[in-house]
């Protein structure tokens, strides 16, 4: 296929995302906050250790707790859960969007399940499945499923009926119809659903790790807190925040690369 290569497209999207970030001087409040903190409290403290201490604590964590491995474990679980949620969410979403029967039948069940906040499913899953990787994955999938499913369903329902007629006049089979008309129509909404699901999945992953001490960053966070290692706690807060920021931006790049073919939004 002619046209810009994948690398060029990714590079372009990186530039687009970087351009769309707000001006860097907006970081001033944060920098001021950290600066003043450092001045007021330049050493360790049980409650408000200095930012410089966070830096040293990170070093400790890297060595003692194998922080990198922990982040790796967390990321891997999060990605697995997200992937499964995308698969199930898309399938179910398309099904419910296409079939009014399925919609009517499953609607109340889905509404009910939607009302349950995802964190609450963790103890339930622990009860039913135990403290293992499967439980962790199940909970993440359940949490990330809803935005993807809902967005997919509404996108399918909003497909221009004209396109369905086009499919029929070209006598496309059901699989072809799904592949050529439904899925492409669904992709933009799906990407939005994924964008919403990502923070949810991250939160649930961390939550499970905190509650169950299964390997990951969450477990380390709780451990540091229980040991009253305040600098480590703050350091982890910053690191997790950066993690969230980076994941979201990476996805923005991916989204931009995929959406190149669609008319620009807004």
């Amino acid at each position: 296929m002619t046209g810009p290569t994948l690398t060029t497209r990714v590079a372009k999207q990186l530039r687009v995302v970087r351009a769309s970030l707000p001006p860097a001087r907006g970081l001033l409040p944060l920098i001021l906050l950290l600066g003043i903190w450092q001045l007021v409290q330049s050493g360790p403290s049980p409650y408000f250790p200095a930012p410089s201490q966070w830096w040293t604590a990170t070093g400790n964590l890297l060595n003692r707790e194998h922080l990198v491995a922990a982040f790796g474990a967390t990321t891997l679980t999060f990605l697995k859960g997200l992937a499964l949620a995308i698969v199930f969410g898309t399938l179910l979403g398309v099904l419910i969007g296409v079939s009014k029967l399925a919609a009517r039948a499953l609607d109340p069940v889905l509404e009910f399940m939607r009302a349950i906040p995802p964190p609450v499913t963790v103890p339930v899953a622990a009860l039913l499945i135990g403290y293992n990787g499967i439980m962790k994955l199940t909970v993440i999938v359940l949490a990330a499923l809803w935005p993807i499913l809902l967005n997919t369903t509404s996108a399918v329902r909003q497909i221009d009926p004209l396109l369905i007629d086009v499919a029929r006049s070209f006598r496309l089979s059901t699989t072809e119809r799904i592949r050529r008309i439904i899925l492409p129509a669904v992709v933009p909404a799906l990407l939005i659903g994924i964008r919403i699901a990502i923070p949810l999945a991250i939160v649930i992953t961390l939550l499970v790790e905190m509650l169950t001490s299964l390997p990951g960053v969450g477990a380390i966070m709780i451990r540091s807190q229980r040991n009253f290692q305040s600098s480590e706690v703050y350091a982890l807060l910053v690191l997790v925040g950066l993690f969230g920021f980076v994941v979201n931006d990476l996805f923005a790049v991916i989204e931009g690369v995929i959406m190149r073919r669609w008319p620009p939004r807004r």
Partner: protein, 263 residues
Amino acid sequence: MRELERLLARINWLGLGTIALAFALWEISLRAGFAQYQNLPTPSAIAIGLVEIMSNGQLLADTSHTLLSVLVGWLAAVAIGVVLGLMLGASPMLRRYSLASIEVLRPMPGIAFAPVALLLFGFSLQMELMVIILPALWPVLIATMGAVMGVHARLFEVGRTFRLSRGEILRKIMLPAALPGVLVGARLSMTLALVLAVVAEMVGNPAGLGYAVVREQQAMRPELVFAYVAAIGALGMILNAALTGAVNLLFPAASGRLREVGA
């Protein structure tokens, strides 16, 4: 008679039927021994459990704690979010000097604040509030800021041609025009506040519905675990309905516009 017919026609029989069927299957398969899930209780056991915690006052105690936490946290988040959102929405300069910080702080998973909150406040209501307020203020702030920025320039020109003072323009034009957006943000924040309260209770403060779920799970009383889960879901729905009702009551004009737009 006609009214009854119409009412009956509106009920989703197929959906209800599916639920009823699912519950029936659940009950039967466990009782008859088809499925053997060690810790999965039957729906009837859950119902009995619900009655138990309702009659011994436990449910009330736990619910009131969580409710208090959610309401206080949400109100604080709304107050802070609205004030900051108004300031940022009205001043391009303020925006330039703070948007980047917000973009960095916003993706922080609320749960990451739990260990810090535990460190600072131990097991207490304040710990929960810290976990709730920080993340829950973002939707309000962003929605308010967007709403203020979205007020049509024409409205301000109307204020000027009628020679209104700046205070009047703020009070009579900007605030009412931004209100629907603010309310949407407040509603999002409420849902978030409940989730955050429950998380804070699960991971930290041993009180309230979140803790109850973990407590009963560790006490190996699965029927109560499910009962509390249902209670949390119900609380969420009630809070949402109450908020919508309150909005309709207090701001009939705004909710009219919200309904018109389909929000």
